[in-house]
Symmetry: none
Subunit: 406 residues, 2 copies
């Protein structure tokens, strides 16, 4: 099914907001048999939205709109669509009661400006919003089906997953199969060299490399499901060391599963990552089964007093050193009585670097029943990138230990 996209909002044109919805929608319609073939971004002005609807190419069967369903003066999408599709607004008392109750449950009075979210059209359908108050709209004319969703990504995604993707799947004949293989700990070019020959042997299987600072995702697509499966069977053993999961799997999910399977607990001692590894562990529901907690030892006094890093070590080798990373990992494992202790210390930057210890110099320490080890990295000049890459390296070190014992 050929799909058109109209993303609505002056903030998209003037760049106050990056349109991440378009890419999410573009990706997610494919497994349901959809394909975004046309995309306009328009301002939240009556004539611009109508103009876009008028310009939808003949070949497009469904138009997805995002944005402009909220309660403020620039949220005009429903008004425009009611007029365009000839719908009359009706006040939905039941929904207004529900909204009022929802606000009351959170100890708030619902503002009157939210009343427009309880309007529904006399034709077409409203689309439930599992995570917000603005409902979506579904209208049909003799050219296309039109779906309107909020611009808030979580609300848009919930409506797509619950209502619109199943609708697209029910109308589509050809299914495209897509598999994501997520890797970490290997650069794009090195990964490409490992599987280059297999890619060339299977022209029916389309392979895209999507590199990030934290690793490279492989996006494998084809209309031939068997070809994809054969391809994956061939590639999997070659990239096993780097391949930690499929679509939607974060490295912390994979590490969590290995910890549960191994019956192990872990604790973190974070300096340069400042809590990011703990944050990532606890992003996983059920992580309390293996993540005991941690010490964010940002100041040296915390490293000394709570983790038991020796004063001598800090003075002789410095806070950013193999020795300190080691004592932090050992210290947190002991202090929190966990099976594994994981530590980070480094120069996150952008300032604070020296010739001997440049910005981006990072140590990750691992302590466990069989011993301890420190890993050294030199990352980037960017503070946030260094924190992210360090957390990823630390999680991957834990993964490799749990898989291979070292």
């Amino acid at each position: 099914m050929k799909i058109g996209l109209i993303t609505i909002g002056a903030e998209l044109l003037n760049g106050a907001r990056t349109d991440t919805n378009a890419a999410w929608i573009g990706q997610h319609v494919i497994p349901s048999g959809g394909s975004v073939e046309w995309h306009m971004t328009v301002s939240d002005k009556n004539e611009d939205i109508i103009n876009a609807l008028d310009k939808v190419p003949k070949s497009i069967e469904a138009v997805l709109c995002t944005g402009g369903l909220g309660p403020t003066h620039d949220d005009i999408t429903p008004t425009v669509l009611y007029e365009y599709f000839g719908a009359q607004p009706e006040f939905d008392e039941d929904y207004w009661t529900l909204l009022t109750e929802r606000f009351a449950a959170r100890g708030r009075t619902i503002p009157d400006s939210n009343r427009n979210q309880a309007i529904k059209p006399h034709i077409g359908e409203v689309i439930p919003n599992p995570v917000g108050s603005a409902r979506g709209l579904h209208f049909t004319n003799d050219h296309f089906d039109c779906f309107a969703m909020p611009g808030v990504p979580s609300e848009m995604k919930a409506m797509m997953l619950d209502t619109i993707l199943p609708w697209i799947a029910s109308k589509s004949k050809v299914k495209h199969h897509i598999t994501i293989m997520r890797t970490t700990g290997i650069m794009e070019s090195a990964l490409y060299e490992k599987i280059d020959a297999i890619i060339k042997d299977y022209p029916k299987v389309n392979v895209a490399f999507l590199p990030r600072f934290t690793g490279v995702d492989l996006r494998i697509s084809s209309t031939d499901e068997d070809a994809i499966n054969t391809w994956i069977d061939l590639v999997s053993p070659i990239i096993k060391k780097y391949h930690f999961g499929g679509e939607g799997v974060a490295l912390e999910d994979a590490v969590g599963e290995l910890l549960i399977n191994g019956g192990k607990t872990i604790a973190t001692a974070e300096s340069c990552t400042g809590g990011l590894i703990g944050d990532r562990f606890t992003n996983v529901s059920g992580s309390s089964a293996y993540y005991k907690g941690g010490i964010v030892a940002y100041r040296n006094e915390v490293k000394r007093e709570i983790l038991g890093v020796k004063k001598d070590t800090l003075e002789t080798y410095g806070a950013v050193s193999e020795e300190t990373a080691l004592e932090m990992a050992i210290g947190v494992r002991k202090r929190l009585s966990s099976d594994i202790g994981l530590s980070t210390t480094g120069i996150a930057g952008p300032s604070g670097g020296t010739v001997e210890k440049p910005v981006g110099l990072i140590y990750v320490g691992l302590s466990h029943e069989n011993g301890e080890k420190v890993y050294k990295f030199t990352f980037t000049p960017s503070r946030l990138t260094n924190k992210l890459m360090t957390s990823q390296a630390a999680l991957n070190i834990t993964r490799l230990y749990l898989l291979y014992g070292s």
Copy 2:
């Protein structure tokens, strides 16, 4: 000057890549007097690009295109534009010599596939590329000026900054002024009600509400700088409690500045946020001046043994309670000898909720020289949203304490 944007590439429509160029261009043309009023995303197919060029509205004076200037088979933008603007290709021997030398300087032989980058049109202009080999193009017809740039963000930005933005500035009469006011702790609808009247009184000042889970940004724009300043003077006192900074300022930046100005240090005791608040504090360069570190007390044993939360408190009231939040904040302040102790405990979800303690129930504790206080929230069913909203609420509680002493 009204500007149209055509972003070219199948990877943008199928979502393999998020279009970050559009937002960058949208933002950066404004100070030069430009305004993106129309934007189409099209596939790298001949007919789709021509169709977009044909559809450029009458009001648009300049069209900026990105993508499809590289050396591979799907880089067809120049071919299409030559045909559309009636230009003949000529081989640019000088540029080819330059490219050959550049490759040689890096110890490489230039591939023949790069020859198309030395083609130039017999009319129009080429745009220099300070950071890559593909040059841009500039054509004119009786409707608009058309600029083509590579899709690689660094190359696009270099061409914009060096050539295209100065051109836009030279053609524009009116300059647009923009200010961002970032708020937190108030919902979009409530914020709107507070300043609704002022918005209506100043039709020359354009106000957009940009809501996130963590707060609402106001984007105020006008061609009349005095009107913006008057507007801000009127609105500022009304939203002072919620307004924490301008463009690019995160709440942790604002809190960090208040801590530095007040000469105070802070430590965190995180349960449900798992390290996210520490992560946010340490995203700020120089945060070691005030952020001492923290305890991620995910398991109760860590709350007891390291933070000194009483066994009795945990058994009587539970880990998610006002009492536990209080003892955590007091405990971490004492343990890390900081001026302020900040704690979080809650049911992040999605599972683990009960009737008395539903998912989204969160307590934030604050302990300081004048006493301590616990704040209760009921957020959402989503784990990551709850963590994010809790971290934001905790930072905002700290901000309000530092500003108003309570």
